[in-house]
């Protein structure tokens, strides 16, 4: 396997097919937790961690449990339960071993279960045919990592702009969600520039 293939996956999940700004996944936390840069960073790293782990585990479960026993139709149920228990587990482990990290990430972890970007990346891993591909596990984990980094990037950009926006004079009716979506639209427009980029 060439390293180039992995590089391509990273670049395309972070920039070209950014999960938030071009695939429109994970928008609830994107709007909810992007008011301050510090919380955006915490949420972003928690998502990267859970996404990578979830990609890894769901790949193994799908390939060695669901396919051999012909219960592929249970995919959605299995994956969401894996993600939910993974989040719980991560929360407990972090709380036990690294209280400072728990303080930083802890409040975001329960929110992650219903972040559709995470279930989205695990389902997309399966649908992009990685299960039958060579080195599928590596590709899957890299795609999960890339998607997480892309999420962090989008969240950071948004938080940076929204912190400035606090000081701006926004028309009364545009305050809150509407102006957030205008900003998101402009960011998405900028990311559209990556579309069609060939690596």
């Amino acid at each position: 396997m060439e390293l180039k293939a992995l590089f391509t996956i990273i670049i395309s999940t972070v920039f070209i097919n950014n999960y938030v700004l071009s695939q429109l996944l994970g928008l609830c936390p994107f709007c909810g937790v992007s008011k301050k840069i510090s919380s955006a960073i915490g949420m972003g790293f928690a998502v990267i961690f859970v996404m990578t782990m979830a990609s890894f585990i769901t790949y193994l479960v799908y390939k060695y449990l669901l396919i051999p026993y012909e219960i592929v139709y249970l995919r959605t149920l299995t994956f969401i339960l894996i993600i939910a228990s993974l989040v719980q587990l991560v929360e407990m482990i972090i709380e036990k071993f690294s209280p400072p990290l728990y303080q930083a990430l802890g409040i975001f972890l329960p929110l992650i279960t219903t972040n559709c970007a995470i279930l989205g990346v695990t389902v997309l891993n399966i649908e992009s045919g990685f299960v039958t591909a060579e080195f599928g596990l590596v590709k899957t984990v890299v795609q999960g990592l890339g998607a997480g980094i892309g999420f962090l990037l989008a969240l950071l950009l948004m938080a940076g702009i929204r912190e400035r926006l606090e000081l701006a004079d926004v028309p009364e009716n545009l305050k809150g969600l509407p102006i957030t979506f205008v900003v998101a639209g402009l960011l998405a427009l900028a990311f559209l520039g990556f579309a069609g980029m060939k690596i």
């Binding site: 695939q23 429109l24 959605t76 969401i80 339960l81 559709c116 957030t180 979506f181 402009l186």
Partner: protein, 197 residues
């Protein structure tokens, strides 16, 4: 009377998308055409009503501290039922909505209604709350899809709208989704502030 109130709340006063601002992913992602939006509404409403009824009917035997995993299992089961039915009888729809059918599981509206409403209210009320919220979601989806399909693809229900007009591609892609929703929310705010005066 209460039934009417519940449905009106779902569509307007407590519209999940336009007022509360949840369930945004499907709202923005599948509204590239009106027929996609309508099918998404049907699928989400089925899950919403089903899980609302089931959650409210077993609320007495569900211990509070494990209620979330139970809700998720129930919701995921309904989603799989929708997935299988669509694959068998409406394969075109299943293809068009793609991964947003399995993603109904993590739609905050459904888990939110199970937790906030169905877990505390009677079966009948939960049924109509589900219908109301589903219609609210449908209203938002259709509104967005209507604007985006006409401006972005010059089409309506898949047929050319005005022959010869060049559509603006941006509207069908991600930025168009954000801008359209921003515009609709802004209009909603303007209407509300006028009503207050």
């Amino acid at each position: 009377m209460k039934i009417f109130e519940l449905i009106k709340n779902g569509i307007w006063h407590r519209n999940p998308v336009l007022i509360i601002g949840i369930g945004l992913c499907p709202t923005l992602a599948v509204t590239t055409s009106v027929s996609n939006a309508l099918w998404m509404t049907v699928a989400a409403m089925f899950v919403l009503v089903g899980s609302n009824i089931l959650v409210s009917s077993i609320k007495r035997i569900v211990p509070p501290h494990i209620r979330i995993p139970i809700f998720i299992t129930i919701i995921a089961s309904f989603v799989i039922i929708v997935e299988l039915l669509l694959k068998a009888y409406q394969p075109e729809v299943d293809k068009a909505l793609g991964i947003f059918i399995p993603l109904i599981v993590v739609n905050c509206i459904i888990l939110g209604r199970a937790e906030e409403f169905a877990y505390k209210n009677s079966i009948l009320d939960s049924l109509f709350d589900g219908i109301g919220m589903g219609l609210g979601l449908g209203f938002a989806l259709t509104l967005l899809a209507f604007v985006r399909e006409i401006l972005g693809a010059n089409k309506l229900f898949g047929y050319t709208f005005i022959p010869g007009m060049e559509p603006s591609l941006m509207m069908i892609m991600a930025p168009g989704a954000f801008f359209t929703l921003a515009f609709i929310l802004w209009a909603m705010n303007a209407i509300k502030s006028k009503q207050k005066k």
